[in-house]
C-alpha cells in the first residue's frame, strides 16, 4: 500500500515535470499583454484635430471591449541581421533581379525547351555528386560523423549504381538524402555569428560568415580545379542555368508574395541558414 502511494507521488512529480517542460517550451514565444491605450486606436491625424466632441461617442464601446479582455498577442522571436551596407546590397539585389529576368531565365527556358526535365535532374545530380567533398569535409569539421558517413556512402553508391552520379540512387534505393552541409554552417556551428548581411552579384544573399564559408567551399569544389579557367567558369555557369531551369517560377512566386522583396529575401535567407546550422 505504501508502495502505491509512493508511486502516485512519483507520478504526480512526473506530470508536474511534464507541464513545466511544456511551459518552458512555450516560453520562447514571448507573450505580450497589450491593453490598447485609447490614444493609439485613433489615427494620429485625428489626435491633432480639436474634434473632441465626435470622438468620445465612438470611444466607450471600444474601451469596454479592451478593458474586458486585454488582448494577448503571442509573438515568436524574429531573427535580425545587421545591414550596414544596405545601399550596396540593394543595388546588388536589383542587379541579380535583372540578371535573372534578362539572362538566366531566358537561357534556362531555351535550355529546358531542348532538354527534358529528367535529363536536367540527372545533370543536377551529377553536379551534386561532384561537390561531395564540400559536404563531407563540412560534416567532419562539425564532428557529424553520421552525416559524413552518409555522404561517403552516397558518393560511392551514386558513382557506381547511380552511373557516375547521374541518378540519385542512394535516395531512391537506400533512402539516404543529400546532407546539406557547407563551411558557412560549420562556422555557424562553432558559434560564429553572421556578422552582417551581404548581397553578392551572381551569388545572391550571403553574410560575412557565409562568404568566408563560400570561399572555402570553392576550394573544396573539384570544378574549381578544372583547367583552363574559362572551362571552369563555363561549367559553373552551365550548372547554374541547369539549376535555374528546374526552379523557374520560384523566384517569381517569392516576389509576387512579398510586400517588400528585399526584406523578405533577407529574412528568408536568415531563417533558412539558421535551420541549416541547427541541423
Amino acid at each position: 500500500m505504501k508502495l502505491t502511494a509512493y508511486v502516485l507521488i512519483m507520478l504526480s512529480f512526473i506530470f508536474i515535470g511534464y507541464n513545466r517542460a511544456s511551459a518552458e517550451q512555450s516560453s520562447p514565444e514571448s507573450q505580450t499583454v497589450i491593453s490598447v491605450p485609447q490614444q493609439e486606436t485613433t489615427p494620429p491625424i485625428e489626435q491633432a484635430k480639436p474634434a473632441v466632441i465626435v470622438e468620445p461617442q465612438q470611444k466607450p464601446a471600444e474601451r469596454q471591449k479592451t478593458a474586458a479582455e486585454p488582448e494577448i498577442i503571442e509573438e515568436e522571436p524574429t531573427i535580425q541581421i545587421a545591414d550596414p551596407i544596405r545601399p550596396w546590397n540593394n543595388a546588388m539585389y536589383h542587379f541579380n533581379d535583372k540578371l535573372y529576368f534578362w539572362v538566366l531565365k531566358p537561357a534556362s527556358k531555351g535550355y529546358s525547351a531542348v532538354i527534358p526535365e529528367d535529363m536536367r535532374i540527372a545533370v543536377s545530380n551529377f553536379f551534386d555528386n561532384v561537390t561531395t567533398p564540400v559536404r563531407f569535409v563540412s560534416s567532419i569539421l562539425q564532428l557529424k560523423i553520421e552525416k559524413a558517413g552518409n555522404e561517403l556512402l552516397r558518393f560511392v553508391y551514386n558513382s557506381t549504381a547511380g552511373v557516375c552520379g547521374l541518378a540519385d540512387a542512394a535516395r531512391a534505393d537506400l533512402g539516404i538524402q543529400r546532407q546539406e552541409e557547407d563551411l558557412g554552417q560549420a562556422l555557424g556551428s562553432y558559434g560564429i555569428g553572421h556578422g552582417f548581411y551581404i548581397v553578392w552579384p551572381f551569388f545572391g544573399p550571403s553574410s560575412l560568415r557565409d562568404t568566408v564559408g563560400l570561399i572555402g567551399d570553392t576550394f573544396l569544389d573539384p570544378v574549381t580545379y578544372v583547367n583552363p579557367l574559362e572551362a571552369s567558369v563555363g561549367i559553373t555557369a552551365y550548372d547554374e542555368v541547369n539549376t535555374v531551369s528546374l526552379h523557374i517560377g520560384d523566384y517569381e512566386d517569392l516576389k509576387k508574395s512579398a510586400v517588400d522583396p528585399y526584406v523578405s529575401i533577407r529574412d528568408a535567407y536568415l531563417q533558412y541558414r539558421k535551420k541549416k546550422v541547427e541541423e
Binding site: S22, I73, E75, Q271
Partner: protein
C-alpha cells in the same frame, strides 16, 4: 500486491505518451491537406476553366484550414494594436487575399508530388506543430504547419517551409514599413499589391 503495482505503473506509463501526443492537430492538418490533394488530383477539372474551379475549391478549404485572425495578429505582433478596429478588419482581408493569390497559384501547379505526414510536437498548451514533407522528383521539402486550438477545432496560424516561417517573414516586412510609415500607408501598399487600390 507488488505485481499489481508494477502492472499499474506500466499501464500509467503507457498512457503518458497518449496524453502528450493527443493527435487532433495532426488529424486536422491531415484532413485539410488531403482535401487539397483530392482537388489537385481531380482529373475532371482540366484546362483554364478547371483551374478556376480548383482555385475556388482550394480557397474554400483554406477558409476552414487557417485562422486568418490569429495569423494576422501574429504577423503584426505588437504593431497590431497600432491599427484601429476598422484598419484591423481591412488588414485581415487584404492579407488573406495576398496569401491566397500567392499560394493558390503555386499549389495548383503540383500534380504528382506526394505528401508524407510526420510527427506532431506540442509547442504550448494550445499550439502544436505538425511536420509534413512534400516529396518531389528532385528533393524532399519539409513543410511544418503550426496549429492553434480554437474551441474543438485546430486551425493553422503559421506555415514553415524549409525552416522559413511565413508569419515571421511577413512580420519583418511589415515591421520595416511601420517603422517610418503610418498604418494607413501600410494598408495602401497592401491594397496596391492585391490590386484593390
Amino acid at each position: 500486491m507488488r505485481k499489481k503495482t508494477v502492472a499499474f505503473i506500466i499501464i500509467v506509463f503507457l498512457m503518458v505518451p497518449l496524453c502528450v501526443y493527443a493527435g487532433p492537430p495532426l488529424e486536422a492538418v491531415k484532413t485539410q491537406v488531403n482535401k487539397v490533394i483530392d482537388v489537385l488530383r481531380d482529373s475532371s477539372l482540366k484546362g483554364e476553366a478547371g483551374k478556376k474551379v480548383k482555385r475556388e475549391k482550394i480557397r474554400n478549404i483554406s477558409e476552414n484550414m487557417f485562422d486568418y485572425t490569429e495569423l494576422s495578429k501574429r504577423t503584426l505582433g505588437q504593431n497590431w494594436s497600432k491599427l484601429n478596429a476598422g484598419q484591423q478588419t481591412e488588414f485581415l482581408g487584404l492579407y488573406k487575399t495576398l496569401l491566397e493569390d500567392a499560394y493558390a497559384d503555386k499549389i495548383i501547379t503540383y500534380t504528382d508530388e506526394k505528401v508524407v505526414f510526420g510527427k506532431e510536437t506540442t509547442l504550448s498548451e494550445k499550439t502544436a506543430e505538425v511536420q509534413t514533407t512534400i516529396i518531389t522528383k528532385k528533393a524532399d521539402i519539409p513543410i511544418y504547419y503550426r496549429v492553434i486550438q480554437k474551441g474543438a477545432a485546430w486551425k493553422v496560424y503559421d506555415v514553415v517551409i524549409e525552416g522559413v516561417s511565413l508569419v515571421s517573414n511577413y512580420r519583418n516586412q511589415f515591421k520595416e514599413i511601420l517603422l517610418n510609415k503610418t498604418p494607413d500607408a501600410l494598408l495602401d501598399t497592401l491594397r496596391k499589391k492585391v490590386g484593390k487600390a
